[in-house]
Subunit: 111 residues, 2 copies
């Protein structure tokens, strides 16, 4: 994100886009929910059992936000599943995982 | 993040790495602070003026967390600046910006 020289407008637009993505994926549960659903469609109760510590209110709110952003959907049997559109997240997930993994190694080496 | 077939352990490790990155960059201010510093080194007061709405306590906490994660540092004049290591964020920032921008177009087209 080298902003010098770029018009400030472009920088603000880029920051907004970054913040959008972080807000959509951020928080304690969304990535873990996507991780669970990447393993196959699941009912609400299945998710609640697998996500130790999440309450029903929080789970329904997180599922609703993921649904509103077209990343998951509910099928006719009432099971949650990833949407086709969620495949667009693949490069995001991969780069977040890669950076997080190398950062953990760096932080451990500093201790 | 296709987990089926991968050992559950690898999936959990991948989710942890993703969550690490989201936690380090997440929240309302960190990306904007990095965006400001990408334009050049700045004093605390400069940052506080540029980041409309951030209080001194929040700014110092966010700066501390970015410093602890080696993404920014303070130089001898007491100015904050990006570290060499922060360049490792470039692919992350680019993919977050790209996904966020295309997602905004998709969401607008659904309205």
């Amino acid at each position: 994100m080298v902003c010098p020289g770029e018009k400030i407008y472009d920088c603000k637009r880029q920051l907004l886009a970054i913040q959008d993505t972080l807000d959509i994926l951020g928080g304690k549960w969304k990535v873990t929910i996507l991780g669970c659903l990447a393993m196959g469609e699941k009912r609400f109760m299945d998710l609640q059992r697998e996500l130790a510590g999440i309450g029903p209110k929080m789970l329904s709110r997180e599922l609703h936000e993921l649904e509103v952003n077209s990343l998951i959907q509910k099928n006719e049997e009432g099971k949650y599943m990833m949407t086709e559109y969620s495949a667009s997240l693949k490069p995001v997930i991969e780069v977040l995982a890669a950076w997080g993994a190398q950062h953990r190694v760096k932080v451990m080496s500093m201790q």
